[in-house]
């Protein structure tokens, strides 16, 4: 029995050791031990020694207990003296962990305040969470060529090697913004603005996930942070601010534009889109959606994801091509956007056909009384297959 116990101890110790070694392997895209920027690095430098010391203490305790179990098992020895403790030993063993923790505390203190700095910010991006997607809003910052606000969603695009400050809030419930490779998480709370520093060392895509339970599709509320070189970022900014290009008359896309105007524009804004009478089409999500917002689709095909980053706009092969690109080639590949050959048409059509079926949302018309008739998430629009053909063709022009 004692022997089995010891083996299980060893298994425990081995598990701990394996966990410690985890930092060396290439793993899941949200690995918290693979920092790719100075903020995450700061956290990692702080936590690795803590994990190591905790692991060592765990091993020591396990070994001591295992030894005691073997050494003092009942072998017919007399009942020992009834000692009630040795205060000196007790105090020593209390002070040692207290001292270790005091040292950890000093470094922790420093990192907490360093990570809270906002005075060295180079670029501000407003991030707003709502069920179940993130809106990214780039306020006017002339030094970055942002001369009019840019509103995007699905992917946070930022320049690499730049101190970016996110200003987070929420339009409905609490969400949490987390890109593990770039920083820890920070909740987006309605009525409050919380800041989060982000900085990526290299161009690339960094995966994240909403980490505060936010209702039905919490699991599907993902995010991707895209870091571009400063030159590529300038190109991205310029394209985001480029004027709307209506599809040519007589094309399928042009028919899609009118489907969009009839159906989608009630919630989804496309900047510069005009109605047949020449007036600008202004979306009114505030009248139709509980959170008051729906993703701005102006440059949809410059993003690689849709539906709160739940689905990729790129087919798997094309997606891998971008995600796994060398950092020198990454920018060009990303800026190419989505074309017809690479479009993940199956997921996009399924989404247009019946969105609540592929992503759980409170979009049941029977329950709208609770929300004054407003939807939470995209409802089933009852589009015909030919409408969907037209819409897909139109959406492909949004880049």
């Amino acid at each position: 029995m004692v022997k089995v116990r010891r083996i299980s101890q060893r298994v425990l110790v081995a598990t701990g050791a394996v966990a410690v070694l985890g930092s060396c392997a290439t793993n899941a895209p949200q690995d918290t031990w693979q920092p790719k920027g100075p903020n995450a690095k700061m956290i990692d430098d702080l936590q690795q020694p803590v994990f190591a010391v905790a692991g060592i203490i765990g091993i020591i305790v396990s070994v001591v207990i295992t030894y005691a179990m073997w050494r003092y098992r009942d072998r017919g020895q007399p009942i020992p003296e009834q000692t009630h403790g040795k205060p000196a030993l007790e105090i020593t063993l209390t002070v040692i962990p207290a001292l270790i923790l005091a040292v950890v505390g000093v470094f922790t203190f420093r990192v907490i305040f360093d990570l809270a700095r906002t005075d060295d910010t180079e670029l501000v991006i407003n991030v707003t969470g709502q069920q179940w997607w993130w809106e990214y809003d780039y306020p006017v910052q002339n030094e970055w060529g942002i001369t009019q606000p840019i509103i995007s969603s699905g992917q946070l695009v930022m320049p690499a090697g730049t101190k970016v400050l996110l200003r987070e809030t929420s339009r409905d419930v609490i969400h949490s913004y987390w890109i593990p490779a770039l920083n820890g998480k920070r909740d987006a709370v309605p009525g409050r603005i919380h800041t989060l520093r982000l900085e990526a060392d290299e161009p690339g895509i960094y995966a994240g996930q909403c980490t505060e339970f936010c209702g039905l599709s919490h699991a599907n509320m993902r995010m991707e942070a895209v870091a571009l070189s400063k030159e590529d970022f300038a190109k991205w900014i310029a394209n985001q601010q480029a004027a709307y290009r209506a599809p040519a008359e007589g094309t399928l896309a042009k028919e899609g534009e009118s489907v969009f105007l009839n159906q989608c524009v009630r919630c989804h804004q496309v900047d510069g889109l005009k109605r047949p009478d020449g007036t600008l089409a202004i979306a009114a999500p505030d009248e139709n959606v509980w959170s008051g917002a729906a993703p701005n689709l102006t440059k949809l095909m410059t993003r690689n994801t849709f539906a709160g980053a739940m689905f990729d706009l790129l087919r798997d092969a094309c997606r891998d091509d971008v995600w796994k690109a060398e950092s020198a080639e990454f920018g060009a590949k990303y800026l190419a956007g989505v074309d017809e050959a690479c479009l993940n048409v199956n997921d996009l059509r399924a989404w247009l056909r019946n969105a609540p079926e592929v992503k759980p949302m409170y979009a049941n018309p029977a329950l709208l009384a609770d929300t004054n008739g407003k939807y939470r998430g995209m409802p089933n629009l009852g589009l015909s297959e030919s409408d969907i053909d037209k819409l897909v063709a139109y959406l492909l022009t949004l880049k």
Binding site: A25, D31, E90, L115, V189
Partner: protein
């Protein structure tokens, strides 16, 4: 002179002085008629006996343990593979909410209340608790609360906001079913049990100890239970207020957490965790108490550093009030608050560490007997150490912002609450079963029970450390292959291992239920002092009579019962039996 005589060594027959004839209480009349039945269902329904109520608490808790366990198994089946289809998103959200609610409020708390009810009066040599009727009232409140919370399953869906029910997601718009209404109402009712129980046990412990039992001669389990009752006394009012606010918000249009009305949703988080963190110690300290009884008994040594364990328990009881915001490191409290709570959390690790040191040193130099109760106790020490150490990594606030709300924290609190609280409870089952039922649980089945639980527990929750550090958030009804990664630490493999582990765990716990049946059918009576125990509850019959003790023992020592059985050999300092027959057992 010993008032209760020591049993003849090796005897299996209780060698008690002949019991006086049972006294039936005189009849009284009116609405407050005194319960007189001693057998049959009325003896349970109308009882005010702390032992019967303790057993009823225990049975209720065990029932909810099975319910909460099945919910957990469904969760693990859903997550065994990517894109799980066992549950839909709505049902999954209800499942994890109710799993935690059930395990915290309807299993661990009432089970601890059951042990406390049964054993605190026995350990301090009292005939009952101070307010037996309030005690009965408390139990029925708990049962009613548990039923109300779970009724929602059949009336349009259970609560679905997670057990900490953050505003505004718990509001009427975001959680449109009535699950949350049942939840607030049920927990409010169950809270009455904790609050009345706390007052009752505090008064009992402070006023009804046997002659000679000073506070520092009080058994350690009773000490830990006392600390817990003080925590409850101050924590339950906070959650009561919070639940009222939520009820008013949902049902009567109040706007306590409504940003549009100028409120701050973080108010709920503060209220919840000001209750919720002391609650964590409410869950774990009773089990600390249990194993602090079991380890000395089966080491044949007193608890090492008894005063240190007492005062570290009390210190946890105080500092436990100053660490609630460590649940909110990612909430955006600002660096000053985060730094203060980070340091306070590190500070509370010290008294917790003291306990682990004391348990280890209790075994050191002892004469260890590996009964099932002892195995569970040692299991607690090791598993809780792992949970405690991962807790230290959480106390480092920047590190916590990477780990919180991932499976890493799920691993952490299951090592603390499963490896800690539940292993302690199982240790208590095996240790005190003969006292409660006069029969010993089968040790062979117990050994299987223990090993399957250890293996299942580590297989289920061990991999969750990896899953969390690999970035898998908690509370996701599905996980996707796109974020699973490759290589040794891929999410698919470790999710599967965790799910298989949960089935092993289920079998292990199933064996315990079988053991209950096997034991109940066995005809073998337990000896009076089967474990060579040390404290007063073993100085009366198994199970104790309604009045507990024929005459109240006078206490001269910590571990009074042991010192009535053994004396020190002046030359070797080892212990020998009082009648000089040498030192056996």
């Amino acid at each position: 002179m010993a008032i209760i005589e020591r049993p003849a060594p090796g005897s299996t027959v209780p060698a008690l002085t002949p019991a006086p004839p049972a006294i039936t209480p005189a009849r009284t009349y009116g609405a407050l008629r005194r319960p007189v039945a001693t057998t049959g269902w009325k003896s349970w329904l109308f009882t005010v006996d702390h032992k019967k109520l303790g057993l009823m608490y225990g049975a209720t808790a065990l029932f909810f343990f099975i319910v909460g366990g099945l919910e957990a198994v469904l969760i693990r089946l859903q997550l065994a593979a990517p894109g799980g289809k066992v549950l839909n998103a709505d049902l999954y959200n209800q499942m994890f909410t109710m799993h935690a609610t059930t395990m915290v409020f309807l299993f661990v708390m009432p089970m601890a209340a059951g042990f406390a009810n049964y054993f605190v009066p026995l350990q301090i040599g009292a005939r009952d608790v101070a307010f037996p009727r309030i005690n009965a009232f408390g139990f029925w409140c708990l049962l009613a609360g548990g039923i109300v919370v779970n009724l929602a399953w059949f009336l349009g869906g259970a609560a679905d906001g997670g057990w900490f029910m953050y505003a505004p997601n718990s509001g009427p718009v975001f959680s449109p079913s009535h699950g949350v209404d049942f939840w607030t109402l049920g927990l409010q009712i169950a809270g009455i049990a904790s609050l009345t129980g706390a007052i009752n046990l505090i008064v009992t412990v402070l006023n009804m100890r046997a002659p000679g039992m000073t506070l520092m001669k009080m058994p350690i389990f009773t000490w830990m239970i006392t600390v817990v009752q003080f925590l409850l006394l101050f924590a339950i009012p906070v959650i009561t207020v919070a639940l009222f606010l939520l009820t008013f918000q949902r049902s009567f249009g109040a706007q306590f957490f409504d940003v549009a009305a100028g409120a701050d949703p973080l108010l709920w988080q503060h209220l919840f965790w000001i209750f919720g963190h002391p609650e964590v110690y409410v869950l774990i300290l009773p089990s600390f108490g249990i194993i602090s009884e079991v380890l000395p008994v089966f080491s044949r040594k007193p608890l090492f550093g008894y005063p240190f364990v007492v005062f570290s328990g009390a210190a946890i009881g105080f500092v436990g009030w100053g660490v609630w915001a460590h649940h909110m490191f990612a909430s955006g409290l600002g660096p000053v608050s985060v730094a203060v709570f980070s340091l306070a959390t590190m500070a509370i690790a010290v008294p917790t560490g003291v306990k682990i040191i004391n348990w280890t040193l209790t075994m050191w130099g002892g004469k260890l007997v590996f009964t099932t109760a002892m195995k569970f106790a040692i299991g607690l020490v090791v598993l809780f150490t792992i949970g405690g150490l991962s807790g230290v990594t959480h106390s480092v606030a920047p590190s916590d912002t990477q780990q919180t709300d991932t499976y890493y924290i799920v691993a952490h609190f299951h090592y603390v609450l499963f490896g800690g609280a539940i292993f302690g409870i199982f240790s208590g089952f095996y240790y005190w079963w003969p006292k409660m039922f006069g029969k010993m649980l089968n040790e062979r089945l117990g050994s299987w029970n223990f090993w399957l639980m250890v293996i299942g527990m580590n297989m289920t929750f061990g991999p969750m450390h990896i899953l969390g550090l690999q970035g898998q958030p908690r509370r996701m009804y599905q996980w996707t292959e796109a974020r699973a990664g490759e290589g040794f630490f891929n999410l698919a493999f470790w999710n599967l291992i965790a799910s298989v582990g949960s089935l092993i765990l289920t079998v292990g716990i199933g064996l315990f239920l079988i053991n209950i049946v096997v034991t109940a059918r066995s005809k073998v009576r337990a000896p009076l002092d089967p474990w060579n125990a040390r404290s007063l509850e073993w100085m009366t019959s198994n199970p104790p009579k309604e009045h507990n003790f024929d005459s109240i023992p006078h206490v001269h020592h910590l571990d009074e019962f042991f010192h009535r059985k053994y004396e020190e050999d002046p030359t070797t300092h080892t212990m020998r039996e009082v009648n000089g027959r040498g030192s056996a057992g």
